[in-house]
């Protein structure tokens, strides 16, 4: 079996993981502060139509 963890790549991955976690937390906090102005404003304006996909794809604006 392989040796447990080549430290450099594991360290790099841990840095990347924390980068993602912190970025997500920051955007979560910012979204709360702005009253979800970022990602949910489209749905509040009725632009995010059901049927536009649930993977975060931008809504088909003309369909709304």
């Amino acid at each position: 079996m392989m040796k447990n963890g080549s430290s450099t790549s594991e360290k790099a991955l841990n840095v990347f993981l924390w980068f993602i976690v912190i970025s997500m937390l920051v955007s979560l906090i910012l979204n709360y502060q702005n009253g979800f102005d970022g990602c949910d404003s489209q749905s509040s304006r009725g632009r995010l139509v059901f049927g536009s996909g649930n993977r975060g794809r931008p809504a088909d604006r003309h369909a709304a």
């Binding site: 079996m1 963890g5 993981l17 970025s23 955007s27 990602c39 996909g53 931008p58």
Partner: protein, 174 residues
């Protein structure tokens, strides 16, 4: 919030169950989650042309890597040495494309409930012929090419050293 949980889950499980997390696999997973959830969903990067295809490329490679992990889990240690690298590469590609097809099944099923995941509709109008197929086929091509790139690299690495595959095995940390 779900994205945060998804991104933390493998690391949490690896620590809790004392399992070695293959770095290359985990790196691809993090890249995929970062692109799909953080950039894609939160910052609407899906509006960038071919962003989705790029993610399918990464997921193709990720799934091909996972195929090697499954291979290690299913085939006894002494048997792995006797399997030709070409077969392993072919199996990894096939596994990734199969998972891509399952994803398209999922999208098709969701579309039966009024969604437009397979982009068969534009501006409220149904697309016809090849135009309606473009998104699905593009996704499958991207899955295939991602897996193929990974499989070609895996082939040459395995030809050089048959133990290279062990880098993808999940095993207990001693």
């Amino acid at each position: 919030m779900a994205g945060l949980l998804i991104v933390m889950l493998p690391k949490f499980l690896a620590i809790k169950l004392k399992v070695y997390l293959p770095p290359l696999l985990y790196g691809l997973f993090l890249m995929f989650i970062y692109g799909a959830i953080y950039l894609g969903t939160i910052y609407h990067f899906y509006s960038i042309p071919y962003w989705d295809k790029g993610l399918h490329l990464i997921s193709g490679a990720l799934l091909a890597g996972f195929a090697l992990s499954a291979f290690g889990g299913l085939i006894p240690d002494e048997g792995i040495k006797h399997v030709p690298p070409f077969f392993i590469s072919m199996y990894a590609t096939a596994f990734a494309v199969f998972c891509g097809v399952l994803w398209e099944f999922y999208e098709f099923t969701c579309d039966s409930f009024g969604m437009n995941l397979q982009r068969y509709m534009r501006n409220g109008h149904l697309l016809l012929g090849r135009a309606a197929l473009m998104d699905t086929m593009g996704d499958l091509f991207a899955d295939f090419f991602g897996a193929l790139i990974f499989a070609v690299i895996a082939y040459f690495k395995l030809r050089k050293d048959s133990r290279w595959i062990e880098k993808f095995f999940f095993h207990r940390n001693l």
